[in-house]
Symmetry: C2
Subunit: 201 residues, 2 copies
């Protein structure tokens, strides 16, 4: 079986969106698969006593310029969502429901759909109608999805994912662990590629 690398993301994270578009191909080129983990950045920020980059004077203006520039560097479309950052627990609960009931490929397809909805069409996933419409467009049952995001079982599943992320040292997103080595940020792509190509350095 192919060895996996772990990839944590939040549906509201611009750099997670960018990384989500390269992580699969990069891993595959080196014979790896990717284990995707939807988490809530707000929870890891709290654990690490951090705030969103756009909550800081000076860093806010820079970040709003760097998000689209970093997307352009990867040749990706990008738009700044109307609501940013936005609460993403409902989309993340659907991710874990798909993951646990239909498998990792279904969850990964949902991750792509959600991240692209936010960062190429500016959609607000915390609006129930928008999330239902996205689910339906992805071939899911919107009523079932709404039951999932209100269900204590899937709330607990997301909480478990957040707890596991913090236990693994995750404080931001995207975050990667490859053979036990942690890498934080879309900009660690060259280091991850080097590690995958030639091992520890």
């Amino acid at each position: 079986m192919e060895r996996a690398l772990d990839f944590w993301f939040d549906f509201s994270s611009p750099y997670s969106y960018i990384a989500s578009e390269w992580v699969g191909a990069l891993a595959a080129r080196h014979g790896r698969r990717v284990r995707w983990h939807a988490i809530l950045l707000g929870v890891t920020f709290q654990a690490a006593e951090l705030k969103s980059p756009v909550s800081h004077p000076l860093k806010r203006e820079y970040s709003l310029r760097d998000f689209p520039r970093s997307a352009r560097c990867e040749g990706l479309p990008y738009c700044m969502p109307a609501v940013f950052p936005q609460p993403t627990q409902n989309a993340a609960r659907i991710f874990w429901w798909l993951h646990d009931t239909r498998g990792s490929e279904a969850a990964e397809a949902w991750a792509h759909a959600g991240l692209r909805a936010v960062f190429t069409r500016g959609i607000t996933l915390s609006e129930p109608q928008a999330l239902r419409a996205l689910a339906q467009a992805e071939g899911l049952d919107a009523d079932a999805c709404e039951r999932v995001w209100n269900d204590p079982q899937w709330k607990a599943r997301l909480k478990q994912a957040n707890d596991e992320a913090i236990a693994a040292g995750v404080f931001g997103a995207p975050f990667f662990v490859v053979d036990g080595e942690p890498f934080w940020g879309n900009d660690r792509k060259p280091q991850i590629e080097r590690w995958l190509a030639s091992g520890p350095f």
Copy 2:
């Protein structure tokens, strides 16, 4: 005259040390010169309501692992200084004194000497004896340097540099501005190189 790019650094910043070792050659390859600016990260952190990465739970452990790894990626020696972060106002005042009285090349040589002292030999620049010894090793008059770092004129000069950095949007280090475009972090090297090679993207 060659167009310049601006480069802000703090003598106590690991990523500034790494960037200081590539910025000159990178700029030169593209027909640019570098304007070096010694600043105090503590001042820009305060303006941006930020703290050192090592002040945050989880991020601290990651950063202590990422500093040497990022240095290895550039083929650079690295050691974690005994005192980190360390106050660097005295070294920075000497930088501006050299800059204003002997020119930018003398200041740049001092920047390299200070950054390498901290990150390849673990020296504490806030210890007067260590800083005097470094000045002497660099061919400077240690007594003159000590007078400089206690002199209100050079204290004011560093304060001016910090104020100018904040006015330019600098909130961390290394920080670069190329043709008006801001880049933050050692990991923005590929974007800076792309900009220098082929212009805005």
